[in-house]
Subunit: 203 residues, 2 copies
Amino acid sequence: MGRRSDHSRGDLLKMAIDAAERIVESDGIKGLTARRVAKEIGYSVGTIYNLFDNLDDLNLHMKARTLDAMYEFVKDVPKGNDVNEDFKALHNAYFEFLRLNPKTLGTILDRVSADGKPLPDWYLEKVAKPFSVVEFALTPYFPEGNKTEVEYAARTLWCGVHGIAILELDNPVDFIGQTSAEEMALYLIQTFLKGLHSHKSQK
Amino acid sequence: MGRRSDHSRGDLLKMAIDAAERIVESDGIKGLTARRVAKEIGYSVGTIYNLFDNLDDLNLHMKARTLDAMYEFVKDVPKGNDVNEDFKALHNAYFEFLRLNPKTLGTILDRVSADGKPLPDWYLEKVAKPFSVVEFALTPYFPEGNKTEVEYAARTLWCGVHGIAILELDNPVDFIGQTSAEEMALYLIQTFLKGLHSHKSQK
DNA sequence: ACATTAAATGAACAATGTTCAATTGTTCTA
DNA sequence: TAGAACAATTGAACATTGTTCATTTAATGT
């Protein structure tokens, strides 16, 4: 078959990434193959390579989509009234999202580009967006408006949360006594916030 | 060639895992193939499958070795006099180890067993040992001797640290402004400790 | 109607994980 | 010492992978 008018290039991109998400969510990252994606969208392998540079590129676009979805999921969560309440809500939303998309979210931190190339800027921007929500929730603790410092604290805290969350994907049960990653993450958040608070009091 | 008396089974295991470490440290996890390991130790592919169930199994043994090495590297670091000093030293040792073994340590959190099988007990014990060092350093904050609580706090904190450390492996430069993962991790540790401390004071 | 263009194809290649019958050193027995 | 029994080692073979690209064919322009 030659050129078809079934779908625009944009449609195809969407279909392929949709398929990739479905595959990863059901069979894990190892189930994601070029031929499988092609079959799912009713096109041939070659078409996948028309749309993406290679499988890593497809993977990256899928992760970008996940980051977008996560941002949409949490962006309106913090209300800005009480820091502790906001973070409880953020914590809830984050783990709810993880429950809905365990495998895809799990791939976010995977080291993909073994070729050594740095991640492209457009992707780094997508990474920044969910962090910005955490920054917003933290601003009451940094009233001087020191943007760099808030970013720093937000990323530190949430990378930690994410690290804990990811760990559980491999070790579903009782990896740490009877405690779930969700509880641990809340503990990290609350202790971190307390630490920030006591730091502020000392000034 | 049939049976040779060049190396015992134990020798072969060691040689194979040594080779795997070398390969991963130089070419990343994607460079780790059965044939490559075989070539490095001067045996054929089949022999690799005599030693290990499959590549995942070889991978797991390599990760276990890394965990062993990490434990040896940090086990005597905390002196038990001052919590903050101990944690600074632990932080230093951990990142020093990361500098020496970036790629292998990077694989520790990788989700390998896509087959869904839980990790074997002997491996979970290896995971526990480095954590026990953190627990030891934390004990002054838990004078009631509540072992479960110390474990909980130690694992929470260090999973967070590890999450931050891993993130940087993908994003060597200025992922977060000008701040390195090493600084961020120290910030997480110190803020967490402050939070623990203020929590204690409120009792 | 024909030429031009570009999307879609799928055969082809090298490399992968994994298996297993065949091979060949080592060891045991008589 | 001969040869049988054993077990470690091999590598050809298979299915599957990522990736390429000459060929095909539908859509578009003239």
